[in-house]
């Protein structure tokens, strides 16, 4: 069954990148920013990070853990993991379709 992927507007992409970053375990804000920047080569500012985190938390896709030295880690929820899988499947299908079309030309 396909789960409904929430609309995040301008924050759709940062949200996806955060979910991917959290897919290998809980991380705090700064670690997520570093992970995203290393993985994509693009900067992620703290304003964007927390705007996306707030939306993801509100939708129940991530949840906060108790803070350690003012740094609060976040982890994927079950709903978040299935939403991420759904999004990645969609991307994979899209990429395969594009590659098939390239092969036809």
């Amino acid at each position: 069954m396909r789960t409904k992927v929430p609309e995040f507007g301008r924050y759709a992409e940062p949200s996806l990148l955060i979910l991917v970053s959290l897919s290998d375990g809980p991380k705090h804000g700064y670690a997520i920013m570093q992970d995203v920047e290393e993985g994509t080569g693009r900067p992620m500012g703290a304003g964007t990070l927390y705007a996306a985190l707030a939306r993801l938390e509100e939708q129940g896709l991530i949840e906060p853990l108790p803070p350690v030295d003012r740094r609060r880690p976040y982890r994927l929820t079950g709903v978040g993991a299935s939403n991420l899988a759904e999004q990645l499947r969609g991307l994979s299908e899209f990429a395969q379709m594009g590659l098939r079309q390239l092969g036809k030309t």
Binding site: R42, A46, F94
Partner: protein, 244 residues
Amino acid sequence: MTVRSLLLRCYPALWRDRYGDEFEAVLTERPLGPFDLLDILLGALDAQLRLRGRGAHLAQGRGLSMSLRIGGIAAIVGAGLLAIAGFLGFGLVLVDGAIAPVLLVTGLAVLLVALAGLSAFQARVHPRLIWLSFAVTAIGAAASLAGFVGTALAGDAFWVVWFLGSMTALAGSALFAIATYRTAVLSRPAAALLGVGSVLPFLGFAVNGEALLPAAIICFLVGWFALGIQAIRLDRPTAPAGAA
């Protein structure tokens, strides 16, 4: 009161209660550049709008954020406007005398956005140099605007303010080029070209070599264009529209 606590105060109280402590902890982890500052201000505006829209709850919305793409587009548009202003200044095309200064002042304002958008990584390594380049460009753009308005209202006595302001803003681009070249996060040849294009006008005026100015404009334009295009390419969407 520190810059970090000032930035935090731009967010709504409800937001600060929930995220303030950890957000401030994130801000202490690395130097803040113009990119981070704009991104945080846009994030604060987003939080204010969302909280006003739905009372105590965070609402959906398209939102605002700073990105390499915005910086890249601003670099192309800003440098294009400045190049047109420069060539119009040579009298290659006969137009109203006010058009070139208007294009120049607008181009400088747009370049400030480009500087902020393209300086995220450089600011981590050379925060002072990046802030200096931003401040010098901003002061130059403000002086250029003041000189233009003064010339329009009070006559040619203010022309020198406009000229010095524009040259100061060029110096800001030269500083940005140095930071970008040293950091090597964006194209070094493009940064070098931008540096040459920003410095040549000073040489041109110093040795009365007007022939250098067209070359300076071309180097400046190509340098900013190349950096802008690279930034836009780096910021390619990860997901197709509607996938997330």
